[in-house]
Amino acid sequence: MFAYYPIYKGYFRTALMVQFQYRIAMLIWLLGGIIEPLMYLVVWRTVSEQQGGSVGGYETNDFVVYFIAMMMVSHATFTWIMWEYVYRIRMGLFSVMLLKPIHPIHSDIADNIGYKFLTLTVMGPLTLLLAWFFEATWQPLPWTLAAFVPVLILAFLMRFYWEWSLAMVAFWTTRIDAMNQAYIVVGLFFSGKLAPLSLFPEIVQRAADILPFRWMLAFPVELLLGRITPRELLIGIGAQLFWLFAGYLFMQFIYRAGIKRYAAFGA
């Protein structure tokens, strides 16, 4: 385990240096991830105000806090690997990665975390600004804050392993736009991004329990809002561990199968 420490240190340094070169592009790419939750925040705030200040157990202020938290959790856990891999394979960049005596997922994780560190300088102040602007009030409970840290790390890892595995589809076909979008759309409905899950019909909620998306986003967000009981917390962490383990197995399997298929473009 500790053998990876110097490797990650090196990866972080290069990732930060490379990404700092593209700081303007980085800011622009952030915009989509800010506008989307902001849009749903405004929609649900409007609905709540019209309904006399509360909808489905969420008060107006809860919606504001929910979507600001959703923006942060979604930013913290998102990956762009499903687009990156197609590019790598099409351009033959993957051949170079194969030569390195280390699993390629490590440099991707370091890259992702490096990006998150840099963008925190924007997202942090932005969160405060939005909270001030929408007059959000939030009283965190100490135990949920403590539990939030491992829950967020688990959410990040399970999302990373699954999306990294899905990115491996690029070994079979490089036309993955429709598949990526299907993944995003299914995720949108079942992750709580569109609206808190308790506002959906019963059947969507039960489906969300079974699918991984809720445990990636809605669960950490609801935990921050203090809407999770200790019992639900344990169930949630269990679900996260299950999906992380399943994602890990899936990754091992599909990566091995993919490598066998891989023949560098142009070779």
């Binding site: 405004v42 409007t46 506002l199």
Partner: protein, 261 residues
């Protein structure tokens, strides 16, 4: 007339080019259907908890989604591919070839690439729009329909002029593709009426990036909530932006000196 023939030619070239990639049609079809399901699903969830949203009734918002997909489809079919290609040409110096052709350079650049399969967005928009119009039917007279058509046209022109001005910046700054990402990110906010957004965001979506004119204004024409001043303002803005973007294009083209010169 000449420019119509020119446009028809580019459409034909577009069709011929894309016929080689027939699978793209299905891919675009799936993507558009997924986009639509997000838009409609969002509406369904919202309206399961309320009757109106900021004064908009469900069928009016359905019309808004129809407009959103219609204009969005035109952007993806013609404006974005053409402008992306134009920016590449500035960077690589191949714009010289376009400039030597005996037709107006702005027109040539604006219609040079047509991704015909993206029209599925428009195809998907039409039944949505039709459903909304039928449901609103009783209140929709000849005048409203004409006003709707005019605002739709103006909205399209405003988006085009705005995009052309952004792209023209390529003459000075060369690498500006990311500007398009800004537009497309803001564009998704057009799925909802801009009146629900807080004042600062509303002004951004109205004046900084003119999403409101392309989506909310035509949709409000259908629902009969458009005021005469908004209508006149939209027409005036469309005309003004068209002229300004034209002028800006000319300034840019005079500044252009080829990539290798």
């Amino acid at each position: 007339m000449f420019y119509f023939r020119l446009f028809a030619t580019y459409v034909r070239v577009g069709i011929l080019g894309e016929l080689e990639y027939r699978a793209n049609f299905w891919i675009n079809m799936i993507q558009s259907a997924l986009d639509l399901s997000v838009a409609l699903g969002g509406l369904a969830v919202v309206f399961s908890h309320t009757d109106t949203l900021g004064g908009w009734r469900p069928e009016e918002l359905l019309a808004l989604i129809g407009v959103y997909f219609l204009i969005g489809g035109l952007i993806r079919t013609i404006i974005r591919p053409s402008m992306t290609q134009f920016m590449d040409q500035v960077r690589q110096g191949t714009l010289d070839f376009t400039l030597t052709k005996p037709a107006d350079s702005q027109v040539l650049v604006s219609i040079q690439r047509i991704e015909i399969w993206r029209l599925v967005d428009v195809l998907i928009a039409l039944p949505v729009l039709a459903t909304a119009l039928v449901r609103l039917g009783t209140r929709l007279g000849l005048v409203e329909t004409a006003v709707f058509a005019v605002t739709l046209l103006c909205g399209g022109l405003i988006v085009y002029s705005f995009w052309l001005m952004l792209s023209t910046c390529a003459f000075w700054f060369v690498k500006v593709e990311n500007i398009q990402v800004i537009f497309m990110s803001m564009w998704q906010a057009g799925r909802w009426p801009v009146s629900i957004y807080p004042a600062w965001l509303r002004s951004v979506l109205t004046f900084l990036v003119p999403v409101a004119f392309a989506t909310t204004v035509p949709a409000s024409a259908v629902s009969g909530r458009i005021t005469t001043s908004t209508l006149l303002g939209t027409i005036a803005l469309a005309a003004a932006l068209l002229l300004v973007s034209r002028w800006f294009w000319r300034v840019g083209i005079r500044f252009y000196s080829g990539a290798s010169a």
